[in-house]
């Protein structure tokens, strides 16, 4: 449904998006994850034909965003980071206008507006001025605007930003409900959102894709790079020395000791499981191994791992 290849966008000398490629299949919900300024919004703006790419191609529903923007725009519903609302209009009036410029014809228009109002639950404010709406309602009106013309593709830029927890859950449910009948790309920097709503996630940092997979797979694949908690009976200094000598161990952080048992978190190289080596190293040194436990890496840690300074090394391992 969406094919992006080698997409690059330069603003003068800065490169906002650098050779991004990914695909989204019909009915899929793709999470677009990255820190602020990673190039999420720019990529989305290119997909919605708001900005032309500097290099590369993007096809939405089989149409090129550069060559056939009108065809693409007809098939894409877009919710920008700040919902594009006219504060001096009433909700129903605004949606009516949006339906017009999105080419929803006469009779169909009333149906679509009613559908969008119902789906996004803005019925109780339909006669209210947008200026008077709360942040949550504004976001929902923005979402209603995006689904008005029943687009095949929905592109949502941080749809849950600024909402309260209850609204966030509602919005997520709404988006999950839209998946299947629509192909959805949503961007966020809130991680639980991705594992809850998206079938697949693309992690982007500094304009590049650093990882792409299902959220569960990402967690599984990077588990080896996680931390191992080890509990050893013995003197702290010599225990730590033994642990640090094991090949593949990057660092060992003592987490305190009690009753002569040293607790330490061991950081290993990406993709390496060092539990067996740790056990034998400790035992050979004459210490008593009390506990050994792999601490799984949460999506948060993976994300930090991928998007902090050592992103370049982490990417191939992922």
């Amino acid at each position: 449904m969406i094919e992006v290849e080698g997409l690059t966008k330069r603003y003068g000398r800065t490169t906002a998006v650098d050779g991004v490629s990914f695909r989204v299949e019909k009915g899929e919900i793709l999470g677009f994850l990255g820190p602020n300024g990673a190039g999420k919004t720019t990529t989305m703006r290119i997909l919605t034909c708001y900005l032309p790419p500097t290099e590369g191609t993007a096809r939405v529903a089989g149409y090129d965003v550069f060559a056939q923007p009108m065809e693409v725009k007809k098939r894409v519903g877009y919710l920008p980071e700040t919902p594009p609302l006219y504060p001096d209009m009433e909700v129903a009036e605004y949606l009516e206008f949006c339906a017009r410029i999105k080419g929803v014809e006469g009779k169909e228009r009333a149906n679509r507006v009613a559908y969008a109002i119902e789906t996004c639950r803005v019925g109780d404010v339909r006669r209210k001025l947008i200026a008077k709406l709360s942040k949550g309602y504004r976001q929902r009106v923005g979402l209603a605007q995006a689904i008005l013309h029943n687009p095949e593709v929905l592109i949502l830029d941080e749809p849950t930003a600024g909402l309260d927890p209850k609204q966030i859950i509602e919005t997520r449910e709404l988006i999950r409900g839209l998946g299947g009948s629509h192909t959805v790309i949503l961007s966020t920097h809130i991680l639980p959102e991705v594992s809850m709503t998206c079938g697949r996630v693309v992690i982007i940092n500094k304009g590049r894709v650093v990882a792409e997979d299902a959220p569960d797979n990402l967690v599984r694949r990077l588990k080896g790079a996680g931390t191992t908690r080890i509990e050893v009976r013995g003197a702290e200094a010599s225990v730590l020395e033994a642990i640090r000598a094991v090949p593949g161990v990057i660092a060992a952080h003592p987490r305190g000791s009690h009753d002569g048992i040293v607790v330490a978190d061991v950081e290993a190289e990406a993709g390496k499981d060092v539990r067996a080596e740790l056990a034998s190293a400790v035992v050979t040194k004459g210490h008593g191994l009390v506990g050994l436990q792999q601490l799984g890496m949460s999506l948060e840690e993976i994300f930090l791992h991928l998007t902090t300074a050592d992103a370049e090394e982490a990417a191939p391992a992922a």
């Binding site: 708001y50 009108m70 894409v76 877009y78 609302l85 209009m89 206008f97 017009r100 410029i101 999105k102």
Partner: protein, 267 residues
Amino acid sequence: MTALRNIAAIFGKEWRHYFGSPIAWVALFVWTMLFGIFFYFSFSFFLEQSMRIAQQGMEYGGGGGGMKISLNEYMIRPLFHNLAVVALFIAPMLTMRLFAEEKRQGTIELLATSPITDWQVVLGKFLAASGLYALMILAGLINVALIWSYATSPPDWKPVATGALGLFLLGACFLAMGTFVSTLTRNQIVAGILSFCLFLGMWTLGWADDPTSGPVLKAVAYLGITTHLEDLVKGVVDLKHVVFYLSVIAFGLFLAHQSVESQRWRA
């Protein structure tokens, strides 16, 4: 068809903004009030003059009512000239927010990602502004219509019609240029001030015309916006003046369109 529908949608939205905010009402109020005041003054001036001439006629025994002075020369022409000055001040009010506001609110992103072309947006907005301006002129013409119901010999309607046309075209030039200026900034006030300066510039070009000026100054004066109003308020529809105004309008809209389009390329 789609194009017309899209233009109509933008037009409707802009009118909704005009009349949903004080802009349209203030513009209509100020305009009709000034129209009435200028009408009153030029009308009393005309009455004074005709009275004086009639008196002179009797004193010198010219018989009958003496010579007749032209209502158009003494009333319609100065009236429309004064209103052109008012248009100079009101036009920035009508155009300054057209694009600046969309940019500030981020709604330009909605327009740009909807299946509607930049031309349709520009035209819809320009037509909305000119539509409101046309309404203002029509509302003002009610004053003039009073002459017909009270005058014993109704005046010639042609100069009134062509004068109104001229006034409309002159204002529409401002509105087209103002639409362009509004695309340049996200700040309405800046757009308003810049537009006013630009309109003033277009206006003063006409001052280059005086009997001693050479061919260059004559050419400059020809570009002046008021130069072309002269014939129209006299009731003469010379195609070259109409073409001049239409060219300025087309040029302004062209600039606006290029600006809207290119900003996305440079963004």
